[in-house]
Amino acid sequence: MIIERLDPSRIRVGMAGTSRDDLLRELGTALVEGGLCKESYPEALVGREAQSPTGIDMDGFGIAIPHTDVSHVLSPGIAVGIPASPVRFTAMGTDDEFVDARIVCALAIDDPGAHLDFIEALLAVLRDRATLESLAAAGTAGEVMDIIRAKEEAAS
């Protein structure tokens, strides 16, 4: 369940006028302030995105799952950003295709093998179009929590 790794303080809705990198910094800072990541995490996130992009076309719905090296992470978690208007990310696995992300989930992962369930659980939530549309329309962090909780409870 990813709901256990979420906290309203690490959910930003209606992020306005932010560039991709500023959005990454803001989500990264939320993870630092939550005690999940080291001070170095936000800039590492920005640098890693430029090198290994994380935009994903979820069957026509753009998202991104930025993350960076385990050395910047203290404990596993996630920060969610819903930009007011889509933010362009390069598509994962390419350097010349783009995704206009409507939901951005920054991942804090310190042990990939041990956190496979967490990554899979997040992808299971994000692979559902109706859930993505609801999340993109959410007006508050509480709503984001409710949508994810409902989706995970329905699936379990």
């Binding site: 890693r48 290994s52 994903i56 069957d59 799952i65 090296d69 385990v70 990554i119």
Partner: protein, 94 residues
């Protein structure tokens, strides 16, 4: 003998872990004996010797002379059956 499959992504953190797990499941179900090496795309060359297939969620611009299958379907959930078939085909033709 086990066939070596390289599963790579940008940082060997998240997406290659997901893809490696899917490839392992697929091969176990299909009775194909493989050994998975998970690494960064930048490290493929040091593991390519003896490998028969590369599955990656990041761009691989170099040709290593062995088949390449994108691991993105295992992330997005779109085109999974096709990717599974491509992997099995590549392993069977070896």
């Amino acid at each position: 003998m086990k066939k070596r499959v390289i599963v790579a992504c940008g940082g060997a953190v998240a997406t290659s872990t997901v893809a490696a797990n899917k490839v392992a499941e697929l091969c176990a179900e299909s009775g194909v004996d493989i050994e998975i090496v998970q690494c960064r795309v930048s490290e493929i060359s040091s593991h390519a010797d003896g490998a028969v297939l590369i599955v990656a969620t990041s761009k691989v611009s170099k040709d290593y002379g062995i088949p390449f299958v994108s691991g993105m379907p295992f992330i997005s959930g779109v085109g999974v059956d096709k990717a599974r078939q491509a992997i099995l085909d590549a392993l069977k033709s070896e």
